[in-house]
Amino acid sequence: MAVAIEHQSQTVDTSPKGIQVSPGLRASGPVVVLLGLGFLAPLLTVAAYAFATPKSFDAFRSFTLANFAVIFDPANTVWTSFAWSIAYAVATVVLLAIIAYPIAYGLHRLFGKWAGFVSVLFVFPLFVSENVRLYGWVLFFIKNGVLDGALKALGFSGGPELLYTPGAILFGMLYVYLPFMLFPMTLGIAMVPKDLIDAARDLGAGRFMIWREVELPLAMPGILIGMLLTFVLGAGAIAESKILGGQSVITIAQDIEVAFTYAQNWPLGSALALILVVIVSGLALTVLSKLDLDRILGRR
């Protein structure tokens, strides 16, 4: 690698102390320090609390599995929150893949000069906080809200009771996490060279065959990233159930929050958080380790 060697020699020239630090390592320094102090350290704190005496603040000073015993106690219903969160995450991933695929395909192949504008329209909601957008749906679905009021004005008996149901929570998740599926998917589809599709067609393949044999496998890295992102976000979702769900379903993130705030049981909250983190990070690391990020993000 000529570039690296070139820089190496530069480093030797300009570093009077003679310590060899590659420019890549040096450039990564600030980010690595930030993530060490702002990401790794908090997670270690959570891990420490998870093994502390229940309902105490004795992190680092006590070691007990009592918090996990509480969670895995069959008499405790906290596992239902886990089940709900994972179920919501899986449903979000599957439904969003179906919803976003045609749009991602259109962004890459059909919309031409409009593609940039359409992308911006899909990006923009990311900059509006999710509670504002979710509250808009409350105003839409609520009694005397937009849907109910419009139906009444048209002479119907009023809108269906959709708000504060488990379905409303899923709807909110689909709504909030759509861009996180759409954009990685579009990147993935953009990785499929047009020549390969032309070649497959030239060799006699029909549309379905081309999709199954060429487009889908080659777009898979991007699709996987989208699925991973939406799964993680869905598993840790809280605002959707609080704003659109009323108290119809308690998600795991809500349980964690309650333990940390009202219940003041930090060790229990940490134990719950630790289990969620292990599930999420385990999945993220497994998927990410299989992907070549240079190729996905466009290095030649």
Partner: protein, 268 residues
Amino acid sequence: METRAQIRTRFAIRVWTAFVLLLVYLPILCGALAGLTKGRYFVFPVKVFSGEWWEKTLSSLEIQTLVHNSLLIAVIVTLVSVLFAFFGALAFARYEWKGRKLYQKIILLPIFFPQPVLGLALLLWFNALGINPSWMTAVIAHLVWIVPVVTLVIAIQVYGFDPTLEEAARDLGASRWFILREVTLPILWPGIWSGALFAFLLSWGNFPLSLYTAGVDSTIPKWLYSKMVAGYTPMVPALGTMSTLSAAALLLGGGLIGMLLRRRRAEA
């Protein structure tokens, strides 16, 4: 070479995209509508429109503090994250070094992480350090999530950067600082600009991190949430709409400036 089936598929994709976009913006429109009604409670169809809640929102001292906090956090987050992410992106995409593949994956972890849990974990950590949560700790929390995002945004630009340009500049006798100022920065500038826009807007709209890490200080999304849960007034949709509109204006303005500068450079 278009078959009828292809034309049908294309049409279906366009209709589907338009429909999803409509759904994306429908709640934002509902909020805008609710902020412009006269009464205390929202009733559709709206009988009387009024700007009364907008006026109340604009003149409220409490809300001025919120705006001040949100702006302060967003500005600091933008400056710091662009600086960190610029070098972070060079390490991500430009240099070949030993730990690069690992670094690329580590940097993604905060993005692939549920934000409410990250906020709570940071709360624990600040407590363990004996730091009282305030807007300053919220800045740290935002940075943990936004720096990786901005790094990716700039990295995409860095991938398109031909490293031989820097080598050519060095060969022509330029110093490291001169190369950075005259070659690297001008070429990566569009990515840095989009990264800055992303940083500001993501911080401006962030709710889950601010909720747990801003302590007694409140931001716009945090205040809105507290009022949604208890104590609705039409100031909630009014402020929400204002916040949305300012984000849109910033995105539009930032995009336009970027486009104009790029065009001027292309024409010169």
